[in-house]
Structures are given as structure tokens and as C-alpha cells.
Amino acid sequence: MKRKLGFSSTVLWLGLVFLYAPMLILILYSFNESKLVTVWGGFSPKWYAELLGDQQILDAVWTSLRIAFYSSTMALILGTMAAFVMVRFKRSWGKMSLSNMITAPLVMPEVITGLSLLLLFVHMADLLGWPRERGMLTVWIAHSTFCASYVAVVVASRLRELDLSIEEAALDLGATPLKAFFLITVPMIAPALLAGWLLSFSLSLDDLVIASFASGPGATTLPMVVFSSVRLGVSPKINALATLIILFVSLIAFISWYMARRSERRDRHAGR
């Protein structure tokens, strides 16, 4: 037993080095003075200054942030409702087909999701005249749909371990289901809701493939700008941008993890 543990922990540490080394090196090289990305020319923050002067990138950041905000909010609404159906509803045809539809996007290859949504938007524009053109609205729909799956998974696992007696007491005392939901259930699952929202936010901010299909000339998101410049090769300016993205998204992910964990721990202290 002991020897195996030694082997597996060695692999664990090697695996962690494998996961983190490329990002750490990227961050290090974003402070490289030299324009040659492979030669170290001394420490300099000049690429960050150059980044701030690039209007195209700044516009894309703003577009991406807005889309991420609206998408994660819609995903939160849809995902929470779906989670309620999955956990609280009796077994029925509607429930089963909904839970199949909500978990499918988790593993669907992005090119398929992207292509199918684009064809839908083109058809709708043809038949209904709406959406008139593809842009922020269509990316919002696409992102809300696939982020809702992640929210549903996060919220459902929280709902499953929730104590029903408080909600029942509220209902017995005459609260309407809607009131009981907002006054009792929402505060109890708030950390999971925030975790789901933040996870959606970072997923939406990060998505390239689905956005490329769903977007039009009107809305260029940050990953689309990064991708078109990365295709041409490595550049120090993109290194600087990548560093900022890594730090920002890791921060969101960390807060989301922390919120989900704090709610778990509170339950444990309550003796559950």
C-alpha cells in the first residue's frame, strides 16, 4: 500500500507541474522587454501599456464582459428552474426529457452546438424576420443555453442536500410557494447560485467556437480577437493580455469555488 501511495503522489505533483508550468512561463514572458518572444531581454511592463492603447482589444473586452453578464444572469434563471425540476419534481416524461436536454450540452462538441445554433438563427431570420442580424443578442442566446447546463448541475447538487422542513413550515404557515422560494430557499442556496453565476460568467467570457458561429460582424468578443491574432503566432502583447485574462478568470473561479465550499462547511457545522 505504502509504495503505491508514493507512486501516485509523485504522479500528482508531476501532473500539477504539467498543468501550471505553461501558464507560469507565459506570465513570466509577458514581462519580457524583448520583442522576440523566445529571448529574455530583461524585465519590462511595456506590453501592458501597449495593450491599454489598443482600442480594438478594449472594445472586445467591453463586448465580452457585457455578453458574459447578461448570459450568466439568464443562465442562472433557466438553470435554477431546471434544477428545481430535476430535484423536486415527481418522475414524469417532462422531467426526464428536460434533464436529458439540460445535461447534453455539457459534453456536446462545440462545433456542433455552434453550427446548429447558427443555422437556427438563419432560419428564424428567414421565416420570422428575427433576429435581423447576428450579434450580441444571438451570442447571448447561445451562451445562456450552454451555461444553463452548468448552473443546473451546481444548483441541483445543492438542492439535493437541502432540508425541506423549513420551506414546509413556511408553506404551512400560509406563505405562497413563490414567497417561500424567495424568502427561504434562495437565501439557503445563495452560495450555489453565486457559484453557478460566476462559473457561467467565466465560461461565457472564455468561449470562442460557439461565439464565432453565433456572432456576426456587429459583435467581436475577446476570444475572437485573441484567436485571430494568435493564429499568426506568439506575440508579447498577447502574452500580456493572456496574463490578465488568466488572473481575472482564476479570481472568479476561486471566488466561485470558495462560495460553494463555504455553504458546504456551514451545513457540516449545523450537524448535517
Binding site: L5, G15, M81, V85, S116, H123
Partner: protein, 306 residues
Amino acid sequence: MKPPLRLQLPKLQLPRGRLWTLGLPYVWLLLFFALPFAIVLKISFSTAVIAIPPYEPTFHYADEALQIFLNLGNYLLLLDDSLYYMAYLSSLKMALVSTLCCMLLGYPMAYAIARAPARQQTVLLLLVMLPSWTSFLIRVYAWMGLLSNTGLINNLLLWLGLIGEPLQILNTNLAVYIGIVYAYLPFMVLPLYANLVKLDMSLLEAAADLGSSSFNTFWKITLPLSRGGLIAGSMLVFIPAVGEFVIPELLGGPDTLMIGKVLWQEFFNNRDWPVAAALAIVMLMLLLIPITLFHRYQSRSMEKER
């Protein structure tokens, strides 16, 4: 205690509220997830033309008759042109090999986390999962700098004197394998950990007491008991890896054939929407078995948690 509680609750809720809760996400998913697949299927039977949108309608209503044109040409093309079926085969092969590599690397990692002291477990798990939440594109990009001919890895090997001239790693299939394993490793570790952490240690102790070697114990007890996590992790890696576009595009070379890349090129470069749609339909058919496997595991583990 529990079952009667759950049976009571639906009665307490207003039917109208329940209808809304089920209805809104249902209609949304039907419209923006299920319906699009039907449209992809329809477009895959149409003919490409130079127009906006660039395909011919499948349904025609003329002379009081509904005419349906099904053009099988796109599917025949997939069978006929070796580019396409080679792309499918090589995508499946690359996804399979990457999944196995993730398994070999991810299993010991998950095992080590599951056996670590409880306090360390959550931190280690966070360390493994954090990269998967960080920008996917950026993480693939990071390897471009590392693997290039003048990149850090080649410079290091040259400096150590292990190689005489730079190795061509970037723009080869090897780089694609590295990229897929790197990007999807966390998705293998998470379900495996969730499974291994529940493993009953007394079984392993009993086996050891009865004189079983540690390898034998692993092979006969630990591995079979973690089958569920192994299947879930493999599907989480394999299915998206088959359709991967970003990794072969950025790390692969001109001879890297992957179906996600071919689909992208048909759609964006050749503007042949019907062929792209047919490619997507066939890819979905190929992935139907793995997706079903994943769903079965997912719903079973949800039932178990109750």
C-alpha cells in the same frame, strides 16, 4: 424520514407555478437546443448554392403540392472523398489515445488526492480544477510558445546537449496530443476522485490481510469499483476531444486531420453549409453511444446521491 417528505411537497406547490418552472426552461431548450439539430439534419440534405443563405430550400410549395428535395449528395461525398472519412478516423484515434493518456496520468492523481488528509483534499482538488476554469484558448496558446522550434523546451534540450538541432514538435500530431491531454486532464480527475474518495478502505485492508499483493488488490478491487468514475471521466474527455477545433488549429500542422477543423473549414472557408451540416450529423451519430453512456452514468450517480 425522507420519502414521505418528498411525496408531500409537490402537493403543497401551486400547479401553475410548477408549470412555469418546468415550462420556461423546457421551451427555451426545445427552441435553442433540440430544434437546431432538426435544422442541421434538414440542411444536410440540401444543395449548396452561392446565395444568402448559401443553400437551396429543402421544402418547396408549388402547384398546390409540397415538394421535398432530399439531396443525398453530401453524405455520398463524405463516403467518397477520403479526406472526410480519414478525418473521422483520425479524430477518433486521437481522441482515444488522448483519453488513455489522461487516464494513465489522471488515475494516480485522483487516487493520491482521495487518499490525502481531508484538509488537503479540497485544496488539491481546487489546484487540479482551477486551470479548467481558466481560459481554454490561452492555455492552448501557452503551448505554442513552449513547443516552437525556438521555444523553451527545444532551447532547454539543446542547452542540455540532448539534441543537436531543434525538434519539430509544434505543428505536428504530437503537439495536438499534448494539447488535448493538457486541456482535458482535469475533467478526468474530477469524476475519478469523486468515485475513489467513497471507496471503502476496509475492503482493501481485508484483501491485504488475506495476503493479496498491492497490485492484485488494485486490479481486482480498486479498479473495478472505480469503473463508474472511469467511464464518466473518459466520456468527458473523449466526446469533446473528437470535435476539438482550437487545439488542432493552433498546435497541429497542415497534415493534422481532425473533423472539427474540417467542419470549420467547410463552413467558414468554403461556405459549404450543407456539407458542414452533414459532417455534424455524422459526428453526432458516431458520438451517440459515448453520449448515451455518459448520460446513463450521470443519471445513475444522481439517483445514488439521494
